[in-house]
Symmetry: C2
Subunit: 324 residues, 2 copies
């Protein structure tokens, strides 16, 4: 029951640094954009005020009547369920327990819907990104951490306790590196931007010959995943080795995801995806080499195309999927 008179969505994406928000049309046009600092440490109450102000300000900015809005879609870190933040481990004090959707609706008169930021972005990829038109696919966000989103029949797969698709904590190296989750050898411990930077710093500290430190202006505190990619593009053997290991660990995860979910495609996003074909080409080769060739095609591995706006495209996709 799609009410196409409701042409617009307010989308809000709560990131670690910024809260980005926008008004998007049903065909994916961004009519307005605003962003404010998240200031996580100021806590959940302050954040809620920011969300309400952003929504009100955007609605007023685009000059459309309330009746033309399908609703507000929010992507948040942590675990939301039914419009309430159930848990948000160590990120935003006081955000847990916030009835974010009810508060937004009370302030704006619009229905609101909320989901985990990474899952929301996956939905956006299917709406208007790298998986446009696909109904079954899996998205991996390789950022500071590693998150996943599983789309089944065009909807976010939730699982029994809404904690599905924590694909960053798939084990890719049993007895491997300790992960922040307490287990060892998780995908996140190898393929997050943080882990790639840590691997580079480890090599530098051990005195390996590499241009990584030079590219970081001689200060290990400046080394991040992008430094490693830049060094790899210049043929630095240490950087290339780190990327090779990243590709192998990622391939292990993707092979298991293929067997488990049988998706049409995989979308790789987040900061690590900035490595582009430097990472994706070897990744595709390894997956093709080891994939069980059955009637299912080898999964199509695609780079995210939503870029910096992924979160607000996702928020709008959530509105049009759930509230129309």
């Amino acid at each position: 029951m799609s009410d196409t008179s409701k042409q617009y969505a307010v989308a809000i994406d709560i990131g670690g640094t910024n809260v980005k928000a926008g008004v998007l049309s049903r065909d994916g046009e961004v009519l307005a954009r605003q962003r404010v600092l998240t200031e996580e440490r100021k806590g959940g109450e302050q954040l809620m005020v920011k969300l309400i102000n952003l929504a009100k300000s955007l609605i007023s900015e685009v000059g459309k009547s309330k009746q033309q809005f399908a609703g507000i879609g929010v992507g948040t870190p942590g675990l939301p369920k039914d419009g309430v933040i159930m848990s948000c481990p160590g990120k935003i004090p006081g955000w847990e327990g916030t009835h974010a959707c009810a508060d937004l609706t009370k302030a704006t008169g619009l229905p609101a819907v909320m989901d985990n930021d990474v899952k929301v972005i996956a939905l956006g990829e299917g709406w208007i990104g790298a998986a446009k038109g696909e109904k079954n696919f899996v998205s991996l966000a390789l950022g500071t951490g590693v998150g996943g989103g599983v789309i089944i029949d065009g909807r976010i797969y939730q699982g029994e306790h809404a904690v599905s698709a924590r694909l960053g904590h798939m084990v890719v190296e049993p007895h491997g590196k300790l992960c922040i989750c307490g287990n060892r050898g998780c995908l996140e411990a190898y393929c997050s931007a943080r882990s790639i930077a840590a691997a580079a710093i480890d090599h530098v500290l051990r005195g390996c010959e590499t241009i990584i430190l030079d590219l970081a202006d001689g200060d290990i505190r400046n080394i991040d995943a992008k430094t490693v990619f830049d060094a790899a593009r210049r043929g630095d053997p240490i950087a290339l080795e780190i990327l090779d290991k990243t590709a192998h660990h990622l391939a292990t995860a993707i092979l298991t995801i293929m067997q488990a979910f049988d998706p049409k495609c995989m979308v790789i996003g987040g900061g690590v995806a900035a490595a582009g074909d430097l990472l994706l080409e070897p990744l595709r080769k390894i997956v093709k080499q080891y994939a069980w060739t059955g009637p299912g095609e080898v999964v199509d591995i695609r780079a995210s195309t939503l870029g910096d706006d992924a979160g607000i495209f996702g928020g709008a996709a959530l509105v049009f999927a759930e509230l129309c």
Copy 2:
């Protein structure tokens, strides 16, 4: 739209040795049972004749009118889709391409439905077995090979190409043992009955001190997974070590399944499940130790309760789920 006047289902389970079939009522009562040898080598046409004869014979045996039957449910090895066997690698010559459901319907006048044997058993577990009443769970069949079934919202999860839930080919030991699928380190290469027996034989051949060979009457050809479990129950250190490794590899897979699917429970079936708490108790401990403790409970690991009849309960569950 449940037509409860249709009280009965014919269920057919095509196994490696026997084709088991039965008539089951909507409340899980088995009214009749028949079995014939599968005789895989005689090929798909012969097998289809057996299926038709079993169905007709059972319908006649129970003395109910055709109108009281909801239909015929078949569990088959390989990959069926829309009632046709799409692939059945190396198992039953000529079975591929068989329009099994259409042939059964033509012969009996009853609608027929078919799915992969392991997926069908998973559905049976949710209908009347260890996962009774659960809507989201994952079933692992640890038999000669290792298969999986994923139930989401009470239905078999199929994936994009109906090759989902090949959980035997999740990677649990990167660069590990070569698996029959061509990849290395798959769950099946460690936790199938065949792999457990092979590990025991490897120890015996290398001269390790163990009672396993004695329990097999001094003939390594008699060593199977059950021999290992029997030796473990008597405290044999080699058998205990094999079981310990099996539990660890299985735990690696289950931790990943937890993160990916967030199921309410896991059901462990198949011949290896005969190890019972000897395997499941250490397995539960390892999973609890390494599971990321979030708002989701640690997954409940249960032994299959359907036993030898798992396949026909599954076939009937498929009928009542899909044809009513």
